[in-house]
């Protein structure tokens, strides 16, 4: 009997609004603890939440991007539990009636695509942060994050292995970045994942699941899921039963440990949030949000293939982020003669050099306009491709444009027939034996002459023209 794995994911995505979900405090990351707080997000007596409508709009946009239903009326609920970094003793969330339901994401798998259902997306507020380490047994609480807007994106249990789970997460991560609804910085906790994992023998009903909590790295998530699948299979094969529980992944020891069992699970006592009226959108408002939807990665990829004639590989690389796609488009617009050359140079030369320098595209010292200026000169044969790479090296270190560098470094390619002919004549005169040999049928000697002419021109002669003129002059 073979084993099947069933995985469902809950992803908490921080919505990138300027202010918090229910008050005016800043959501900026990294401020001094408790400096971005107010009576509302501190849970002071008598203080009331007011919804940040921008967070709701971004959640709607996300829902539209995964082809989901937008509930024109959704409701907020209170999820009750005590924890020191939860100031009100309840979290405002959406339980029975979330803002988004019934969507999907198509993820790439070996033999094509697989559709992963998205059950729902609901809005909620983040809690603060408790710090216990290195404080001599005292705990500190930072409430800067308290009330930061989140959307929780809940998938169907449609993934069959860790690779599919990661593919789904990467697809989702790319999507929220493209939509500009989240910074999605995993290290800053802006994109965190809970994984529900169970195993069963083929054809059997669903097994007991466990929940791996709060993972914020693709690598850890993959490790954690694989570890959990093996752990569960081992338990069952040894005649045991999987216990329904929440587990924590320890990325140092590469193992998971139990957090709390079903018996210890919270009864969250959800009930409607009386401080907030139902959230209402009109169809017109939803349509307006849809109209503002940016092009999504899949659409961009296809357009890059058809409009610019790029290979699927190049199109995929360039559409990994919204920034790189925009960068490419601006490059192609400035050098419209050859979109493929633009793609090659951006992928192989620019991104390579940036990678070596440890820089992001946004930090590139060479703008798309400057690179286009260089590609123009490659296109019109002013310089050779080899020389152009040298120019790009210089551009990475200076603010000069391509023409200035070509001029000052004397890299201009010689394409003048007279000048090239003069060099050829000299080379022929210096090598009468080889001329004789070529004329006697040794065609392979052409390469020797090309090399000699290029050497004599110090690499500046246009190789195509050298070829052409040599053939003409060697004929005699």
């Amino acid at each position: 009997m073979s084993w099947e794995t069933v995985i469902g994911l809950e992803v908490h995505v921080q919505v990138n609004t300027k202010s918090k979900q229910f008050c005016g405090c800043s959501t900026e990351f990294g401020a001094e603890p408790n400096t971005q707080t107010c009576p509302v997000c501190l849970g002071m007596p008598g203080q009331l939440p007011v919804l940040n409508i921008e967070a709701a709009r971004k959640t709607v946009l996300t829902g539209l991007a995964i082809n989901a239903d937008i509930n024109l009326i959704s409701k907020f609920d209170r999820k009750n539990y005590f924890y020191p970094d939860l100031p009100k003793g309840y979290q405002i969330t959406q339980f029975p009636l979330p803002i988004v339901e019934h969507g999907y994401l198509d993820i790439p798998v070996n033999d094509g695509e697989k559709r992963i259902g998205v059950t729902r997306i609901h809005m909620e507020e983040d809690a603060g942060k408790s710090m216990h380490e290195g404080l001599d047994g005292v705990s500190h609480i930072d409430l800067n994050r308290s009330g930061v807007p989140l959307m929780e994106i809940v998938s169907e249990p449609d993934m069959a292995n860790a690779d599919e789970a990661i593919a789904y997460l990467k697809q989702l991560h790319q999507l929220v970045c493209f939509l500009d609804v989240s910074g999605a910085n995993m290290e800053k906790g802006q994109f965190r994942c809970d994984a529900n994992v169970s195993v069963r023998r083929s054809g059997e009903p669903l097994g007991t699941r466990t929940e791996m909590k709060n993972m914020n790295s693709f690598r850890f998530i993959k490790q954690a899921i694989e570890y959990e699948v093996n752990r569960q299979i081992e338990i069952i094969e040894n005649g045991g039963a999987v216990v329904q529980e929440s587990r924590l992944w320890d990325s140092v020891k590469n193992e998971s440990r139990s957090m709390r069992s079903k018996e210890e699970a919270h009864d969250y006592r959800y009930f409607p949030e009386p401080d907030l009226p139902p959230l209402r959108f009109t169809q017109d408002e939803v349509d307006a949000i849809r109209a503002g939807m940016p092009e999504l990665p899949g659409q961009l990829r296809k357009r890059f293939e058809t409009e610019f004639g790029l290979s699927p590989y190049d199109a995929d690389v360039l559409t990994q982020t919204r920034e790189s796609a925009a960068w490419y488009e601006s490059l192609a617009a400035a050098h419209p003669a050859d979109p493929k050359r633009c793609a090659n140079w951006m992928i192989n030369e620019l991104l390579g050099r940036l990678n070596e320098a440890g820089k992001e595209l946004a930090e590139s010292p060479v703008s798309s306009q400057r690179l286009a200026g260089l590609l123009e000169r490659v296109g019109d044969h002013t310089i050779s491709g080899k020389a152009a790479k040298d120019v790009l090296d210089i551009m990475m270190e200076s603010d000069d444009d391509a023409d200035t560098i070509i001029e000052t470094k004397g890299l201009k390619q010689v394409s003048d027939t007279g000048a090239i002919d003069a060099i050829i004549v000299d080379v022929m005169a210096a090598n009468p034996g080889q001329v004789e040999g070529y004329r006697g049928g040794k065609d392979k000697l052409l390469g020797f002459f090309v090399g000699q002419v290029m050497k004599a021109s110090r690499g500046k002669a246009n190789p195509g023209m050298v070829n052409q003129r040599l053939k003409a002059l060697l004929k005699g």
């Binding site: 002071m44 008598g46 009331l48 100031p87 006592r269 009930f271 009386p274």
Partner: protein, 488 residues
Amino acid sequence: MPFSTLSKIKDRLDAGATTAVAVAKTYLDRIAAFNGDLNAFVDIDPAHVLEQAEASDAYRTKHGARALEGLPIAIKDIFCTQDGPTRCCSHILKDFHAPYDAHVITKLKEAGAVLVGKTNMDEFAMGSSTETSAFGPCHNPWDIERIPGGSSGGSASAVAAALVPAALGTDTGGSIRQPASVCGITGLKPTYGRVSRRGIIAFASSLDQAGPMTRTVKDAAMIAAAMSGHDSMDSTSVPDAPAVDWLGACDKTGMKGLRIGKPKEYFVDGMDTGVRAAIDAALAECEALGAEIVDISLPHTDAAVAAYYVIAPSEASANLSRYDAVRFGHRCDNPDDLLDMYTRSRDEGFGKEVKRRILTGTFALSSGYYDAYYIKAQQVRTLIRQDFINAFAQVDVIATPTSPITAFKLGEKTADPLTMYLSDIFTIALNLAGLPGLSQPCGFVDGLPVGLQWIAPAWREDVILGAASAYEAATDWVKAPINFGGEA
């Protein structure tokens, strides 16, 4: 002067016959003399009151009078104020000072009012007798052996004894109207959403609403006018609430042709016969003034108390979770660990009735019970709302007794919470429906005041004020002498 109405004090101030400082001194003297008997105030800072009065006199001289210029108004201990403590009469907030004013406090300050101390109340507004206060029970000036009602008992007692001419209360299930009734004063609970709840310590968020407690209908209208209005920082404060001409509505002509509904469910066997006689006499008076009395039915009334005692504690159980000893409020000594800190701090900080409601609410929301209690209660709430909609298709306003009984003796019902809960039987339904209500004096039984309750459709406080001002003008109940603290 102490037994003057707010309007008369305003007239005298506007006429230059007295000053805010003189008025403040009068009442401060009475508080000093009589608060020991009543325990109506749990915090009073005479110097700060006089400062405000001086500032008001200066403002009047310089800029002229605002709507409540120089008028002393006492504040229930549930309203957050930057000045002085805000404790909700609970040990758990015994050292709490709010860093902000409630929205209505800001509005009263902007209207020129002089805010006088904090009044006693049931802890977290949970009670009908002001006996659950952490600062000891409050007494009814009509008979200091008796309760002043609750939860705004301190405000009612203070106004009835003329320790202050007006006060603010809050009303979740009758907490303005029932104490007004048993203390012989007027109390108005506005339509839910009319007055901002921001900065008012929450008991049951979907029911709480602040309102004035005064000697007369017009006094209540004056304060309501200053309190109400949209607050963008309270999402349940209604932005486009129909406006009311608060003072214009008190023109005493409201009774002519008025169709007054008399719900049979509010005139039941077992209610105090004296109370019933007083209400019947009041309705006869209304008829004499030109109103038509229409027998109506609010068929789901008997389920209101049960639904309320599920919904209010459920909301309260969550609202009171923030008192967790982490950021503010009482913290127990030397907690062993987090759980010990939570349980011991809350056990020490909350009183018995508050704990009872937290437990009730927690139970009602628990998995497995939620549908049977909370959902069912919400369904009842919808039916009750519909009852009123149906009734208001027939009548303009509804009149009932505010309370089935007059003030009972201190300690009489503390052992039996269910009997205590039934004292709100006539006031709860309109909170569940979000409607405005007012209680005004309409007689006495054995020397204890009886209250007449008016209920109107949402946003129609004007109908209530019209009827109540006409009834008040035709009767002498608000002028009835009280045998407490000197001349009336």
